[in-house]
Point group: C2
Chain length 226, copies 2
DNA sequence: ACCTGAACACCGTTCAAGT
DNA sequence: ACCTGAACACCGTTCAAGT
């Protein structure tokens, strides 16, 4: 490890902090550990960032900036599907970012730009303002909530069957009958929780479609009041 | 403040820790602050809980235990609506619990019992095992994600109009046109983000219904493959 | 302009000791 | 059995000082 490589910048601090959190978790991201990784004394970081909280805000912006906005030309359903899949991938790669969201008060320009693009896709596709609000709230609730569940799982998809077996074996006879049934019939056969993302996304996009002013129900009646 | 009230118990420690996190946030919940609130020296808490991480696990269980399970007799849609509304209320009252979920590896008996009841409601209503898995993943993604968004908002619903005005005023001319339009047309008129919960829940329950083996689409074809 | 050393007020947790 | 005091290895951050 070289004594000092490039001059310390805010950008380099953010990169190193991201890598630290990715590799060892958010708890391992201390100002002191970050400084060491940067080959610098702890106080040097404070010359580029006022305090740790500001650094965390930059991390959130950095991660959200990696989420692909909905491609402008595409039909709304495809465009939103692309951006939701991208959001899930990015947040799965940096699960600590979702936790930081909770502590962030004011969004930065990157988040605002992204939100504006999503809203623009909906409004441009003919959704009215209230429907766009419903759609956006639902889409992001699904994506955020799915990633939260995914990052909470005590196993990765590959090891699900073994873990399910262990859990079932540890449960008292007769307890949690439905969970046990689910584990026996579903998880053992290679169930991957991650696969539920596409299932859910399709349903959520169907739901969004039903909010479109032009949508009709199965009897041909308009789904949304004018 | 009395010098010492009741003898210290694990139960009292969990109650005090919950109150501390509710009132001052998760960061204020330190072993030392908790001890002071309990009228005891820091190390006394360790006699009832092996370490802080175990205490946090107990907090999560305590909060999840407050979520009403789906009432057994009711039709599935009503039963799941009740439990989702309850989950949202409880998690909104203790937003730090959602963050702790991420760090929890193995669920306790309270969570397992709850999950079993939800799964039982779905299976008892005639959903097959794969459909129950889809439905559960979607429902909880929605509830968790909604609460996460809700707790991240930089304003409560009552002050949304003022905050929206400030934000719009602060934005550079011509930037974020769709966000500005949304703020102008929707937020100003008393838009409450919290109201999106019922809208989204209805759509999500509709989506779940479409997973039922008996469900048909608008052309009368079965929605789900056999 | 950029980085540093020493210090302060905190953490969670250990261990041996008190009652 | 239950609680304590002192100590250790950490935190984030201040301030005055170095180059």
């Amino acid at each position: 490890m070289p004594a000092r490589r490039a001059p310390l910048t805010r950008e380099r601090a953010v990169q190193a902090a991201t890598a630290l959190a990715d590799e060892h978790g958010l708890a391992a991201l201390t100002m002191r550990a970050l400084a060491e990784r940067l080959g610098v004394r702890p106080m040097a970081v404070y010359h580029h960032v006022p305090h740790k909280d500001a650094l965390l805000g930059l991390l959130v912006e950095e991660v959200l900036g990696q989420v692909a906005p909905p491609p402008p030309g595409a039909p709304w359903r495809e465009a939103l599907g692309t951006r939701c899949r991208s959001a899930r991938e990015v947040l799965r790669a940096h699960p600590w970012a979702l936790v930081l969201l909770e502590s962030r008060r004011t969004p930065g320009p990157t988040s605002l730009e992204h939100h504006d693009a999503v809203l623009g896709t909906l409004l441009g596709a003919g959704f009215d303002v209230p429907a766009a609000g419903h759609a956006y709230a639902l889409l992001d609730a699904f994506v955020y909530g799915f990633v939260l569940q995914e990052s909470t799982l005590p196993f990765d998809d590959a090891h699900a069957p073994e873990v399910a077996d262990e859990i079932v074996a540890a449960v008292p006879e007769g307890a949690y009958p439905h969970l046990v049934r689910f584990a026996r019939e579903r998880v053992r056969e290679g169930y991957a929780f991650g696969d539920e993302f596409e299932v859910g996304l399709r349903l959520v996009l169907d739901a969004v479609a039903s909010l479109h002013p032009g949508a009709t129900d199965r009897a041909g009646r308009r789904t949304v009041d004018a």
